[in-house]
Amino acid sequence: MSLLVTKDLVKWFGDTHAVDHVNFTVKDSEVLALIGSNGAGKTTLVNLISGLFRPDGGQILFRDADVTHQSVHGRIKAGIARSFQLVNLFDQLSALDNVALTIFSREGKTRNLATLASGDSAVWDEAVEILRLFGLEAKARMLAGGVSQGERKLLDVAVAYALRPKLLFLDEPTSGVSTREKAPIMDTITSVVRSTGISAAIIEHDMDVVFNYSDRIVAMHQGTILADGTPDEIRRNEAVTTTLIGTTETR
């Protein structure tokens, strides 16, 4: 079953087709990797689906409902969440507060200005539990701006996860961290995603990560989808090998 379908999605930047009539699907309960060289249109596609940009043409269907013209808020309510490539956190709030605020927002409780946030133990329990899932419980009281880069990447994903999405977009969750740290981060993220049965679409450059952790791979090139298949199929795909993997592996 398809969770998300885009139909002929188009986005222009000046004269360039950043996203050129893309038909992209995400299935239920899968971990999908979105690969492609810089400028292939991966992040633009995610920005269109998550509502940061408006498309110039085409349609976005999420669980069979048209969300093409939905607000960011509406898409989050429908179940689309995302993390960011350059970590985007509330740096002057603690790690725990970052997650708790997200839960308050998800529950529609941020409208409440007449009671103390600290009194809502259900929210705080859940926030602690989410931090624990991501292995961050020891950093709960540290400011988000003060934890290590690897932990910030995880916290960024944890914040998006706290929205309890059905589809989670992760924009390069392992960029900017050392090679040694990549596997533990991906282990944590994929185990959380798989245990809850949600779908994740991960933009990633590191081919080892891509082949080890994803069920399906979508390769993009110059705004279009070049190939779509299982890791084995992609590995054998000549178009992908010549345009993408060759260059990435020699790097």
């Binding site: 985007n88 603690s94 200005l113 009671t115």
Partner: protein, 333 residues
């Protein structure tokens, strides 16, 4: 897991805050009994300004919006009272407060719609500009507002007429009215404390730290900013209403940008990164200004120089600097 959660929650629990706040409130209640009337009245001015600065800091400290136009809301509160006296012959302080709140809700709701779409310098410019418009209206519609002569406001009756200021005005202001202001101050401070520590308050801080991400966790930025703007303006309007009877007169001066500057100044002086900063800043500023005015006509120059020095060298204000010094002292001993 539920045993771990409370231990991990935000610092600044209710118990701890009350342990600090209650003794301070008691001390403030004793002031009129031990200091001369003039001292109590001066402190009443300080407490009134503290309410206004608390409102201002909901925007600066918690939402990350620097308003240069809060004099407008202070003035709206003050003029609402003065016009109620002039046209409706009202004399009850409670009715004054209701009128001032209604007027400032109206004005801030309207101004807010325009202003909250912008941040940073554009927000500052717009708030300053809109306040100057109100100032020019107060100035030019002299047949309504009294122009530069202003409008007089007689001593009001308090608590639905239980206390009246029929006798000595100084005694009334330094005792009955002082306590009235003190009660309002405590109520406002408690209310603001709840607001900034509520889920709504957390959402404001999230907007301050990272607008894009706040949107992507489902916070509707403009709407939340607008509510913050409204609450902020109403607190400052309330301060304006409480200020008029103390001063006995309202003139367009309190709508002028220089007065907005004073609100900004006292908040930065106290420290806008802490809850108590604007309160302490307002009270200290009130004394500073009183003595500076007594000392030189160029007090604005003096304050400007202090402001520049402050942002250059002590950006965390009195509260932040005192906290740092205390931490260093504890570290040594």
């Amino acid at each position: 897991m539920s045993t771990l959660a409370p231990a991990l929650q935000q610092t600044g629990s209710t118990d701890k805050t009350l342990r600090v706040a209650v003794p301070i409130a008691v001390l403030l209640a004793l002031v009129p009994l031990v200091v001369p009337p003039y001292g109590a009245i001066l402190l009443a001015y300080g407490l009134v300004m503290a309410i206004g600065a608390l409102g201002f800091n909901l925007l600066l400290g918690y939402t990350g919006l620097l308003s240069f136009g809060h004099s407008a809301y202070f003035g709206v509160g003050a003029y609402a009272v003065a016009l109620m006296v002039k046209y409706l012959k009202v004399g009850s302080m409670e009715l004054f407060l209701v009128g001032a709140i209604a007027a400032s809700v109206l004005v801030t709701a309207l101004f807010g719609v325009v202003c909250v779409r912008y941040t940073r310098i554009f927000f500052g410019i717009l708030t300053l500009a809109l306040s100057q418009v109100l100032w020019s209206l107060a100035f030019k519609f002299f047949w309504v507002t009294g122009g530069t002569d202003g409008l007089r406001v007689p001593t009001p009756s308090l608590f639905g007429g239980l206390v009246t200021g029929a006798g000595d005005k100084t005694a009334f202001m330094s005792h009955a009215y002082y306590y009235y202001v003190l009660i309002m101050f405590c109520a406002c401070a408690a209310l603001m404390w709840v607001i900034v520590n509520s889920p709504f308050g957390m959402a404001l801080q999230a907007i301050r730290d990272n607008e894009t991400r706040a949107e992507f966790v489902g916070v509707r930025i403009w709407r939340y900013r607008w509510v913050a703007f409204l609450v902020s303006g109403v607190f400052t309007g309330l301060a304006g209403a409480l200020w008029v009877p103390l001063n006995g007169l309202t003139t367009p001066d309190i709508m002028h940008w220089t007065f907005s500057g004073e609100i900004v100044f006292m908040t930065v002086l106290g420290g806008f990164r802490s809850f108590a900063g604007p309160i302490i800043g307002a009270i200290v500023f009130n004394y500073l200004k009183t003595y500076a005015i007594g000392y030189t006509v160029y007090w604005q120059l003096l304050l400007g120089a202090v402001l520049v020095a402050l942002v250059l060298s002590l950006p965390t204000g009195i509260v932040g600097t005192a906290g740092k010094l205390a931490a260093r002292f504890r570290g040594r001993s």
